[in-house]
């Protein structure tokens, strides 16, 4: 049986070109085909209404369009997304003379500049982003903020192989968008799958692979779409033996003294 190994190369996502398989191309070509809805569990009407009429929690965020084709669904929803902000469980601070202090640049005013290894400053207008290939060559690239989030269904355990960088929440802008996301969430959940987004960027020079995981509330009346961003796959290097090391060593025995008399 041939074997492979899990590898890791930094900034992998930046290197990838979008490759459309023949199947994808066909799906794209037949994009206008009418979607047929599969029978699926729907939350109670009251729950749907409560989600749609909760504008305070569904405002803000950045706008994008989410697209998904599969399971008889053809979704194109206006969504918003935002990084999940969490308060630290253990809050810490630095204190001096009874007052909380933080590190800041003070004194003579400093400015940010583009400088090379020798310290020579370069004009901002001449700076462009490049991709550094394995052989050291560089090709110019332009990374723009993702406006269309293309989602594909993949087995949920695929997500575990990718190193989490950050988590976002994705939600529908209007009632119809929320309905579309609900269909997607229930389909993914019922099939044990997650949504893979092969290319996602905030537009600040980094490109991620993303995974959208539906999370249902305990009562099943509401749901959240959590999007995990990843720059690369996990790479574990410190493998330890599962067998106990101490057990393997034989316990030293007491030396036996021969009885001469």
């Amino acid at each position: 049986m041939p074997s492979y190994r899990k590898g890791s190369k930094q900034q992998y996502a930046v290197k990838r070109k979008k490759v459309l398989s023949k199947v994808e191309a066909k799906v794209k070509k037949a994009g206008k085909t009418k979607a047929t809805k599969l029978p699926m569990p729907k939350p109670e009407a009251s729950a749907s209404k409560s989600a749609a009429t909760a504008p305070s929690s569904l405002k803000g965020g950045r706008k994008a369009t989410l697209r998904f084709k599969g399971f008889g669904l053809n979704i194109k929803a206006n969504v918003r997304y935002e990084t999940e902000k969490v308060e630290p469980l253990i809050k810490t601070a630095y204190v001096a003379d009874g007052k909380i202090v933080t590190k800041k640049f003070i004194g003579p005013k400093k400015r940010v500049a583009w400088v090379d290894e020798s310290g020579k400053e370069h004009d901002k207008s001449k700076v462009q982003q490049v991709q550094i290939l394995d052989d050291g060559s560089m090709i110019p690239i332009k990374i723009e903020k993702t406006k269309v989030i293309d989602v594909e269904a993949v087995p949920a355990k695929i997500m575990d192989e990718f190193h989490p960088d950050s988590f976002l929440e994705v939600w529908g802008q209007d009632d119809e968008d929320i309905d579309a996301l609900r269909d997607l969430a229930f389909e993914l959940k019922s099939k044990g799958m997650v949504g893979a987004v092969k290319k996602f960027s905030h537009g600040y020079g980094k490109v991620y692979v993303a995974f959208i995981r539906p999370i249902l509330s305990k009562d099943g009346k509401s749901f959240v779409l959590e999007m995990m961003l990843s720059e690369n796959k996990k790479k574990h290097r410190r493998w330890m033996p599962t067998e106990k090391a101490l057990k393997a060593k034989k316990k030293a025995e007491e030396p036996k003294v021969p009885e001469l008399w």
Binding site: M1, Y4, Y12, A13, V19, V209
Partner: protein
Amino acid sequence: MVVNQQTKQKVLDYIIKHPGASDVEISEALNIHIVDVTVALLLLEDEGLVKEAE
């Protein structure tokens, strides 16, 4: 799911020709997205056709 038989076959052929190749290497060599390669490897492993190197 996007990964089809053709993708799986390409990945399998590559591993047969390049035993011990990493998933990232496979992805770059075949110009197939890492997510698709990962899915293909998962399916091939489930079918008992390949295994992850120790």
